[in-house]
Amino acid sequence: MLKGHLDTIVLAALEAGPAHGYAVIESIRARSGETFDLPEGTLYPALHRLEAAGLLQSEWTVPPTGRKRRVYALTPAGRDALAKRRTVWERFAHGVNAIVGGRPWPA
């Protein structure tokens, strides 16, 4: 189930600012309360796919630690896509909550 929403989760994880792959995984893990413990190898193809779609941009940087790393950031198209996906997700989550959680619709 997570796989179908991975791209949205990655976009959301980068909303706060640019980050490298490991930081994105840590952010997803921390923000989900460790509910989403992704197989880390799924992240890099997702980052590459989102960049190819124009939703992310990336560049190599050399931080003070001296190790070259690739840092990803949302593009304006990525921010728009995230806003749209968030709206869709909120409707979906309300619907599922109403059915599974027994709450009335619309909540």
């Binding site: 490298h20 792959g21 490991y22 197989p39 880390e40 190898g41 799924t42 890099y44 193809p45 590459h48 796919r49 190819a52 190790r67 070259k68 790393r69 690739r70």
Partner: protein, 206 residues
């Protein structure tokens, strides 16, 4: 100890050897990931744990190859659309600018305009049907390409019969050259699609 990580990275590079730039990039990114996760002087157990968390190198390569094939499908259909438009424009220019062909007994003169038109219609039909029925497959673009080749060849024959190449109006000659170039580009895209699908299938296989 570092050899466990190096072996993993070598494995990843080998699976991505069809795309050296992507292989270099992924290797560098995942090497950085491992370095960040492991810190200095990791134990073998730590390396094994972090490699297990990353998952098989082949799975990463397979996901990247599948995405690459998917993007190539999009590119192929865009080029097919552009080639269809260019062929239509070239065909219309031939109809508008070239004098009617003599049909007194010359089979080629009679057949060329018909083939030009109906092969184009066949290309449209193959493209429309293929887009809805089997979009990821190269079969429909291949069928459309074959029909476009027939249309382009008939169009060139039509020009040759109406006038020699030097006498053809510039717009007609330019449009015909353009449609030939786009048909060649379409062929290159279809070949790339076949190659990428084979790579994705090979990496996804058990």
């Amino acid at each position: 100890m570092a050899s466990l990580i190096d072996t993993y990275l070598d494995d990843l590079s080998r699976h991505l050897s069809h795309d050296p730039a992507l292989a270099r990039r992924m290797r560098a990114e995942i090497a950085d990931h491992f370095a960040e996760a492991l810190g200095e002087c990791p134990s073998e157990a730590e390396m094994r744990r972090i490699i297990a968390r990353m998952g098989p190198a082949r799975a990463i390569a397979a996901a990247l190859a599948a995405d690459g094939a998917s993007r190539q499908v999009d590119r192929t259909w865009v080029i097919l659309l552009v080639a269809l438009i260019a062929t239509f424009i070239a065909m219309r220019l031939r109809s508008l600018w070239l004098p009617p062909l003599a049909t007194d007994g010359a089979l080629a003169g009679f057949a060329a305009p018909l083939i030009d038109r109906w092969a184009f219609v066949a290309a449209i039909a193959a493209a429309v049907a293929g887009y809805w029925v089997m979009r990821p497959s190269p079969a429909a673009p291949l069928l459309a390409l074959a029909a476009l080749c027939a249309s382009v060849a008939a169009g060139m024959l039509r020009i040759a019969l109406a006038a020699d190449w030097s006498a053809a109006p510039l717009a007609v000659a330019a449009a015909t050259v353009g449609e030939c170039a786009l048909v060649g580009l379409l062929l290159a895209q279809i070949l790339a699609l076949c190659r990428r699908r084979r790579q994705a299938a090979r990496l996804s296989a058990d």
